[in-house]
Amino acid sequence: MALRERMVNLGEVVVTDDPEVVLTVPGIGSCIVVCVFHSRTRLAGMAHIVLPSSQGRKEASTKPFWFADIAVPYLIENMRNKGAIRPNCAIVGGANVLNFLL
């Protein structure tokens, strides 16, 4: 089996059942990446989140998956619609990389 990398960019949500696809993010930093996997359906998903809330943000209409409050429900709902209920989940990121700027 030849594995292929699928990069998940900023503000992107990907769900796949392709066993040859490896979802990757090249360096996370202060972003949050939510990874989900459902063992029975072999579905995997990833959301690369930039900001916590879409409240009051005009970009929410064009870049909805920048925001955790849109991306995470979408990811879970997308998995559920494909039969993957209560997938295993890992959350990584949230590093204080540019701490002197905050």
């Binding site: 360096g27 930039v50 540019l98 700027l101």
Partner: protein, 186 residues
């Protein structure tokens, strides 16, 4: 802030300032090769800067913020081996990590200070721009760039001017390469 042409003019002044300052500081020939300003989306920094550094490689990075009349960020990337050779040369073999860090921080300080001097000659400003203390770190370049993207986006800054300088330092043992990136929110 003026046009791209004004920025390029400012960059030329800054280039000369930086070359002079770092050559004096390092005691070695230093060349900056500026590339033109590119306007890009704040969420595209990874792909834009990825043309010059490996986003999945670990680098020694120096980060300096700029506040005031001019607001932006300077990020310098050196491969870890190159950064070690640079500090070893500067410190004559001294291996204290804190001292080595301070040398790199000073390179960030000098570059930012001279960059701002160069800009002040090209752009008439009434007030002043202040650099933050330099931050040095070892990390994937992608991690730092994604964090910078997130920072811009969280501040509602959707577009960024980006300029990259290719930095060459001629040491007796060989050539050290690095890149310096200046990000200026539009």
């Amino acid at each position: 802030m003026g046009t791209t042409r004004t920025l390029e003019e400012a960059l030329k002044f800054a280039q000369l300032e930086c070359e002079t300052a770092l050559t004096e500081f390092l005691g070695a020939d230093v060349e900056f090769h500026p590339v033109e300003w590119i306007e890009c989306q704040a969420d595209e920094l990874l792909s834009v800067v990825g043309q010059f550094v490996g986003v999945e490689e670990v680098y020694r990075a120096i980060v300096v913020g700029v506040y005031g009349d001019l607001q932006g960020y300077l990020v310098m990337f050196f491969r870890i081996k190159d950064a070690e050779e640079l500090t070893t040369y500067m410190l004559d073999g001294e291996s204290d990590p804190e001292v080595q860090e301070s040398v790199l921080a000073e390179i960030g300080n000098l570059t930012t200070a001279r960059l701002l001097m160069g800009f002040s000659k090209a752009i008439q400003t009434n007030g002043e721009a202040m650099p933050t203390p330099p931050q040095t770190q070892v990390d994937f370049s992608g991690s730092l760039l994604q964090s910078l993207s997130a920072l811009f986006l969280s501040q509602g800054q959707m577009k960024v001017f980006h300029s990259v300088w290719k930095l060459k330092v001629q040491l007796p043992k060989g050539l050290i390469n690095g890149t310096a990136h200046f990000f200026l929110p539009v």
